[in-house]
Symmetry: C2
Amino acid sequence: MNRCVGVFDSGLGGLTVVKELKKKWPGQRIIYLGDTARVPYGTRSPEVIKKFAVECARFLEGKKVDKIIIACNTASAYAFGEVRAAVSVPAWEVISYGAKGTRGSKKIGVIGTRATIGSGRYEEEIKKINPGAEIKSAATPLLVPLVEEGETSGDLIEMAVGKSIAGMAGAETLILGCTHYPVIAPVIKKQLPGVKLVNPGEELAREWPGENTGGEDEYYFTDMTDRYVRVAEMFLGGKLTGKAERIQL
Amino acid sequence: MNRCVGVFDSGLGGLTVVKELKKKWPGQRIIYLGDTARVPYGTRSPEVIKKFAVECARFLEGKKVDKIIIACNTASAYAFGEVRAAVSVPAWEVISYGAKGTRGSKKIGVIGTRATIGSGRYEEEIKKINPGAEIKSAATPLLVPLVEEGETSGDLIEMAVGKSIAGMAGAETLILGCTHYPVIAPVIKKQLPGVKLVNPGEELAREWPGENTGGEDEYYFTDMTDRYVRVAEMFLGGKLTGKAERIQL
């Protein structure tokens, strides 16, 4: 079998990271796992997030992947150490890459799930490379379920975004610290004109050592409803091609 | 130990059912299980809902409950048969009780999760007792996450409710087919003045054979974050008293 990278996420949002990886490495073979039976992770406790993330990583290791990417910001924030300890292949998270996207900016905003923001991991990573910056963080828990329901434009998402990012006025750079947010970048941009948006998945793809291995991609999900293809393709920004299968963790 | 009833739900919303049971049977000892590590169920497939519900019911049977109530509408819709087959104590669901609350009404609306509405169970039960009625159903998936985030009044929930129940104009009776909705009854009522709202938990409590057994209640959750007490008490409409513990299923 061709060499491949395993990418896991709490659900389908991680496909925005796959989209960026494929832009940079169109021939990279990917094995994706979305834990759609237990999504979202961002409302759960650190203990549960760690347990779920390790189960995802072990599944991918069982599929003989050569590398693992934690696409989910929440799992990256809490479970990177646990995942590295649990598997024998190298692993990447997205937080430190998202932080790098703020280079040169003095006023930085971060939005994410309640768990991601609560972890303080983005602040830690931003301070390493941008010690003097002013950082404002906000948990924006309304945005994930609205995007999942296809509310990516119109009055309702505009009101929810406005309410969620009210404290971000004045930010020069805003980290989209959840895989769902790139899909509503235009709505965010409209309310913060002139802000530079950072997509951690895109920052990761820029530096990550991919390979144009070729070979069929495989998608595994812990649940598959009759609307998963539609939602998956919203995040992927294109057709879901390759094998797709439901599995139990 | 005093006799008791086991009540399970996908998360904390089932506490609106506990609230109704306690109104009718203040001395009823209750053992509650909220599957907060895997909430929500209403966006998942029938297979996954059945599996999770059976795991919940078996946990309660292990706690020596004498009866089981499935508080969650989604689990009631898909897993009542499976739960009855899996445990040896009698079990109740909420759908058929919600349907009974429509007696005498000719224009009936039902709102619920995507899974509950997709099951068609409310229509089935309504037709049994109200054969000539005109029934309109709508999945209203935006409402659960908004309520979970404490959005129970104000512009955002009003807009989301307006969008969600736009098709319900003209309904004389509206079944609140998800445990989260009683909390936003005033918002719904404002947009459908004159409608009779049916809370299936209240209808169940009216007929259900409780006992004022006395004894300390016990609450089990598959996850407990630092905000679970606040959210639990929003649904319960009062203080969470009794033992509370995190467990794994």
